[in-house]
């Protein structure tokens, strides 16, 4: 199958980006993946749904990201013995996603790893909680079982196991590191500890309330998720938020990016023994958060993005405050960047550590910031600029080295670029209403919202039910794609560099676990 089907058999899908849907049988499900892989697509998300009440079928859906569009491939299968062809031959990143789909819905991908991923014993193996006949209130006693980590044997090999509770203020996850001497031979991650049943919870919420849950899929990306959810809902109701609301959303998204990058730049300095960096950058981040609280009433901008627009406006005085902050931040970031660049001890730790080559990044399907640090020049704000990005002309940050130093440089570049974008947005803030009331979305429709969050592309797939209800909502965090990268980037590095390398990716556990 060539990629001609992209033009021939796809129908447009409601979305804030160019999106198309392709309904496939098992054969075409697999061949579409091959064709899309050849066309240079990356796998954006994979999820399942229970539609037995409609057509006695279970469904899997995969979205693929091409530079100019998103393609959704959908495959329905009868509920009894539901099996579909695995996508891992073309997209290795599909493996954990497929295991998660099985844990939640009992739809199995043919071949490959069958160990549970999200199910750690919190519900029985024959219960698939996302099926519609499982009540949302049903709970089960925990029956924990050991997880069969892959063991590495040989002379002098030993294992270092950490987690799920870490020494520090970090989200929970487990890492098994097989080591010879001080070098890492293999790393195996186990995630899913913060799985909260978000998808099931969505089904109990009204469409006009869902953005609040979306905003809490991963707290550090609250604006991106909130926006993606609202964009999906708005595209189903043909609502176009005002130019002012769009600009304020972009301002919030860029401030979220700056806050996270500043935090990471400080933490990376600290992990390399340069406490000065942490003090300086965490101080700047705190200033930004306080300004957020002052002008938006929320330090992290939770629930600022609402269906139809935004919840708070900016006064003239607030605009002046934020513009003043930008001038100060630009100066500080340039100064600190020069200090980082000229600090030999710091650069000695950054350069060459945790390298992910452009070839590895492409093969593994890396996305977002980590991909851009490994030569993959993709950024939705640049590739598919939508209002207001179409008039801002954002500049993409990309590096080829793929090491910790490259991820630091991409953060510096993006911070400065986001400061420029914020300045432009504030100086040219259009007039317009803050939010528009949404008409009820028709039942039985599917829409996508895709937003370039600070970590990478965030997606929300929203399926509507009758009377303003949510039939199914699937939020996807780019951490799914990028967690497996660390298993590769760490190889051959020394164990004490693991925290630094892990931090240089800074992936979300909650966003991944759902």
């Amino acid at each position: 199958m060539s990629s001609d089907f992209l033009d021939r058999d796809c129908v447009p899908l409601p979305s804030n980006v160019a999106a198309y849907c392709f309904v496939a049988d098992a054969h075409h499900w697999a061949s579409a993946a091959v064709a899309l892989g050849k066309a240079g697509a990356s796998l954006l998300a994979l999820w399942g749904s229970d539609d037995r009440d409609h057509d006695r079928c279970l469904r899997v859906r995969a979205t693929y990201l091409l530079p100019d569009r998103v393609v959704l491939v959908e495959h329905a299968m009868p509920a009894e013995g539901a099996v579909y062809p695995s996508l891992t031959p073309c997209f290795p990143v599909a493996e954990r996603l497929q295991r998660a789909v099985y844990d939640l819905l009992g739809i199995r991908a043919e071949g490959g790893d069958t160990r549970p991923w999200l199910r750690h014993g919190g519900w029985p193996p024959n219960v698939f909680p996302l099926r519609r006949d499982v009540s949302a209130a049903q709970t089960y006693p925990l029956v924990s079982a050991p997880y069969p980590f892959v063991s590495v044997v040989g002379d002098g090999v030993h294992e270092v196991a950490v987690g799920p509770v870490h020494a520090g203020v970090i989200e929970p996850g487990r890492f098994h590191v097989s080591v010879v001497g001080e070098k890492v031979l293999r790393l195996e991650e186990r995630l899913g500890y913060t799985h909260k049943g978000v998808a099931k919870r969505f089904e109990g919420l009204a469409q006009h309330d869902g953005h609040r849950l979306a905003a809490r899929v991963s707290g550090d990306s609250t604006v991106a998720f909130g926006w993606a959810y609202c964009a999906a809902l708005e595209s189903l109701t043909d609502t176009i938020p005002s130019a002012r609301a769009a600009a304020l959303r972009a301002l919030a998204l860029e401030r979220e990016r700056i806050a996270n990058h500043l935090g990471d730049l400080g933490a990376l300095g600290n992990d390399a023994g340069f406490a000065f960096g942490l003090t300086q950058f965490s101080g700047l981040k705190e200033q930004l958060l306080r300004h957020n609280a002052e002008v938006f009433g929320q330090r992290y901008l939770f629930d600022l993005v609402v269906p139809g627009g935004v919840a708070r406006d900016l006064s003239i005085q607030a605009i002046a405050t934020l513009l003043g902050e930008i001038t100060e931040f630009e100066r500080a970031v340039h100064e600190l960047r020069a200090i980082y660049a000229n600090h030999e001890g710091l650069q000695d730790r950054f350069l060459g550590a945790g390298r992910l080559t452009p070839d590895q990044a492409r093969r593994l399907g890396a996305v977002g910031l980590a991909a851009r640090a490994s030569g993959i020049a993709r950024d939705l704000r640049v590739d598919q600029p939508r209002e207001p990005y179409d008039r801002l002309e954002p500049v993409l940050a990309v590096r080829l080295e793929g090491d910790v130093a490259a991820r630091v440089q991409v953060r510096f570049d993006e911070t400065l670029e986001s400061l420029r974008l914020c300045k432009l947005l504030l100086e040219t803030l259009p007039l317009g209403v803050l939010s528009i009331e949404l008409p009820a979305a028709p039942a039985g429709r599917l829409a996508l919202g895709v937003v370039e969050g600070w970590r990478g592309p965030v997606m929300v797939a929203l399926e509507t039910g009758p009377q303003g209800s949510i039939r199914r909502c699937h939020p996807h965090d780019p951490s799914w794609q990028n967690w497996p990268l660390i298993e590769v980037a760490i190889l051959g590095n020394i164990v004490p560099d693991f925290p630094l390398i892990n931090k240089s990716f800074n992936l979300s556990y909650s966003g991944h676990d759902g």
Partner: protein, 170 residues
């Protein structure tokens, strides 16, 4: 080096005085003295994310920035529950974290206190209880005090910590 020193000089001292536990009380230094009297200048905290969205973690991190300067108040995060006086827990408790949370609590020496941080930890928040979560922290381990907010500000968390040390630990 000169650039680093110059930057440090220009940044100055950003640390702010400790907040009072509630508006009717004053004398932050008195609280600090009480804290020191009880814990010998070292309230040791172990943090467990029992399933949060990581919003609360961002604010707990913020406590260590130069503005709040938690360590300056004699409060620090430690690497093992066996070294901790207080357990700071966030999130609705996911079933996948239930066992780890219980074990962490059990590993702490007596006397020990638990502070639940955030709306989810206090009451289950927007997630509630379902097949994957148990809801509030108090469903799984004893909780002595809660800090509400989604997420609570660093100042609110700091007040919660001071409340525990003043009213419970004395």
């Amino acid at each position: 080096m000169i650039h680093i020193l110059s930057r440090i000089r220009r940044t100055g001292c950003l640390s702010e005085p400790l907040p009072t536990p509630d508006p009717s009380e004053s004398e932050p230094t008195a609280i600090q003295h009480q804290l020191h009297a009880v814990f010998g200048r070292a309230l040791c905290i172990r943090h467990v994310d029992a399933g949060s969205c990581n919003g609360c973690e961002l604010e707990i991190h913020a406590l260590s920035n130069p503005y709040y300067n938690l360590e300056g108040a004699g409060i620090r995060f430690v690497a093992s529950p066996r070294h901790a006086d207080l357990l700071l827990v966030t999130g609705p408790v996911s079933v996948n974290m239930e066992e780890a949370l219980k074990r962490t609590y059990e590993a702490m020496p007596e006397p020990k206190w638990v502070l639940a941080v955030g709306d989810c930890g206090a009451c289950g928040g927007i997630y509630g209880a379902n097949y994957a979560t148990r809801g509030p922290i108090s469903e799984v381990i004893p909780v002595h005090a809660v800090v509400n907010g989604c997420p609570p500000s660093p100042l609110a968390i700091l007040r919660g910590l001071l409340h525990v040390t003043r009213h419970l630990a004395l």
